[in-house]
Symmetry: C2
Amino acid sequence: MDPLTIDQAAAETGVSKHTLRYYEREGLLPQIDKAPSGHRRYSPGDIEWVRFLQLLRATGMPIREMKTFVALTHAGDHTIPDRIAVLERYHAALVTRMAEDREHLARLDRKLGIYRDIVATREVTPEHIIGEPSRT
Amino acid sequence: MDPLTIDQAAAETGVSKHTLRYYEREGLLPQIDKAPSGHRRYSPGDIEWVRFLQLLRATGMPIREMKTFVALTHAGDHTIPDRIAVLERYHAALVTRMAEDREHLARLDRKLGIYRDIVATREVTPEHIIGEPSRT
DNA sequence: GTAGAAGTTCGAGCGCACTCGAAGTCAAGC
DNA sequence: GCTTGACTTCGAGTGCGCTCGAACTTCTAC
């Protein structure tokens, strides 16, 4: 588990090198260890933290709030109830969004059904497709 | 089913007046009928179209592609197979995103579980909470 | 008829989350 | 030792989807 170069960290996490540096600048990541040359060396723990940041982003948390979450984390274990409260909000929002997505998917299905019916109807009324190339 | 003012159309659809005009400018909406005064009058069909645009947005379709979709719609029924293809792409993407969301939700649950365990553990080891206000 | 709310067009501005490019330093292979 | 490519910092730029404000007109209620 040797530390990774920024290129390896990017490959490992799917977060671009630019974004890794951006997150560090913004304080979402700690100051990453540097080799004597000044090049970044990502520890396994750093990688894990990047993955957690990805999770927070994926739940819909904006960078701004991720910063406050990171601050809570740095402040110590007594902020855990606050952190739970934050995560619960995004948990609930995610559940809501998933329900909405199911609804959107159903509407999309209905629309597709309508379109498919039109195409199907056209196929059994050959006079309409004169001049159009066959799809079979 | 009288035509609606822009204020009513905004209230009805949840799309802001600014955005309704923006969509019209961008060609996502037809030229909305105008009263002799120049004020917009949204027909029921216009409102329905706004709702369809909202669905497309909700599936993750960017404005840019919505424009091409609208163009297909204007081009006539022979573009229906193309429209089906477009909608199927967003359908698939939505299904994928929902699966990812389930995974994210599960990870969030695990994280919350860890946090809750820490809090629970602290509650049965009173010496750690000396000086901290009780939450009961 | 007048006040105030609501409408119009137009271009500019904003917030977000990156993303890029310049200018310079460092590392690995030959 | 030199080339090639990856790394560094820094500030600036980008793309998206709105969102706003100014300057003006029109409608509504009294």
